[in-house]
Symmetry: D2
Subunit: 182 residues, 4 copies
DNA sequence: TTTT
DNA sequence: TTTT
């Protein structure tokens, strides 16, 4: 039940492969880094200046599974989610804030590549992507006919972070060298 | 599962009270007539010219029930749905098309009045609106924690139209004098 | 100045090449037929049933020019516009209504194909598309740095319709065998 | 020119009066703190748990002026903008990131209160609000008929911060006791 | 860090 | 810090 509207709509490309983690009860949680490009005309020079905005995306439930399986670095994707800012503690004990686009049971994800993913035609896709699968799956955690389906526990936080090692983004509870979560 | 995006977002006021019908299995179906206002500067005269656009809304499921109960003529409301054009036969046997904004399990509705609806404070609300209810309910057919909840059969059309008499909008199958559905 | 919100967001594919017309003062007006796909699980059979929704798009100004030049049948595109229903007269003198998604100075268009359009690599693109142009242009009639730029006269209607012949969609004023505008 | 889509749509209430600043060339820049409410059903207890999300909004141009003049603490408002994360230096020399919703020439703002703002009827509105003005103005920096109109320089950052003292939010360049911008 |  |  919402007493307001909180909606984010993005179309952009992944800066890197998705990172998949799992909650204690086995639900997938996927993090994406998404770039949206814009260019504007500089008022001084009249030049077109490119500008890239990076977004941190967190996906839950079925959408997360699909994203983890089919999206790759470079993939173009449509995402609909909501803004969420979470507070965490830096190593210095001070509060830090990270704003993310959360794609949960009310969100949507849509792959926009011609054939199912960025560089996956040129090189083998990791995680044993099944070749017989549809090439451009779309995902919506909640949809017609999906009544009673299991859904990611996107509330209450507290998902596990197995590893978080090399290549994965630092998370608040991790003991990393720096405390920059974004 | 969507292989595309079809989204409509409206904020406007109801031109009349909602019309509620029921499907054979008891699910509510509500029709709204929503006005969105816009004004533009006439290039000749420089005058600000007001322009009202009317939208035909069809709601299913829990949202429909809430809308039927709390919305009234004049109510300001936020609506998120999808575009759908349906074909029907005019009395002359020719095809007609009506485009509607469908608010189903994936849609959203949000009342925006200060206290629960347009003119409902000045006159008794029909349909036995419970006075102890929250004044400004928001509705989303599908939401967190709602797993396994029943949902409107918003697919396959074919809902019943009990009456359709005085005050209700003409529907394709009705035997009205004119064949204008919108 | 809007006293409401009227927004449509679509991602889909063109059912045919864009139709370009020009206003008396030379501004481009482009019509598109856009399909958005959705499939839902039939509650009886449990089968996934595909469902295609067709949308009639009207574009004005700079966006129209870009769309006319780069979009082709099959092109995947993101569109942001507003709903507009216009009334016209059928041959029988009765009123008809057609709802369109209008993409004007406040709208947006975004090509989503890997390389500039649907089937345009396999066959010569009409209208003398320049080969040296960027492959995937994006268009926004109104944008940063664009102050003072000319814009389509998307108000007041009354654009000319040169031809409207074979292959183009019937328009209200045309003298066609049927009066179905959509 | 956008090579992507970056859109945020919010409906919520202001947590405090808007803060207005001015760029060196006199353009208004307004900061808002907007709350969007959501409640979800706790899966353990079955209780409805309220949850408020706070958003930092930055407005430029004509929208900023309207917002500064008419919005007040408690005002309900519709906002359309884009996500932007900016980097700044904490007092400890470390990088910090703040994500904001930027409402510029492409954004939109819509007041949703019955009569022009939260508590502004009960107390004198600052900044000499004209009493004869419309009660519920809507604002769009870019709109029909607005061709050639001046617009806020929403690019390049670097607006001045006159004061930033008591009551205003800490900004990166300020010399405050803490370095929390959000 | 992506994409054109 | 808002609102219901």
């Amino acid at each position: 039940m919402a007493r307001g509207v909180n909606k984010v709509i993005l179309i952009g490309n992944l800066g890197q492969d998705p990172e998949t983690r799992y909650t204690p009860n086995g639900n997938a949680v996927v993090n994406l880094n998404l770039a949206t490009d814009e260019s504007y005309k500089d008022r001084q020079t009249g030049q077109l200046v490119p500008k890239t905005e990076w977004h941190r995306i967190v996906m839950f439930g079925k959408i997360a599974e699909v994203a983890g399986q089919y999206l790759r670095k470079g993939s173009k994707v449509y995402i609909e989610g909501k803004l969420q800012t979470r507070k965490w503690q830096g190593q210095d004990g001070q509060d830090r804030y990270t704003t993310e686009v959360v794609v949960d049971i009310n969100g949507q994800m849509q792959m926009l590549d011609s054939r199912g993913g960025g560089d996956n035609a040129s090189q083998g896709a990791p995680q044993g992507r099944p070749q017989s699968q549809p090439q451009q799956p779309a995902a919506q955690n909640s949809q017609q006919g999906n009544y009673g389906a299991p859904a990611g526990n996107n509330q209450g936080g507290g998902y596990s972070q197995p590893g978080g090692g090399q290549g994965s983004m630092p998370e608040p509870v991790d003991d990393f060298d720096d405390d920059i979560p974004f």
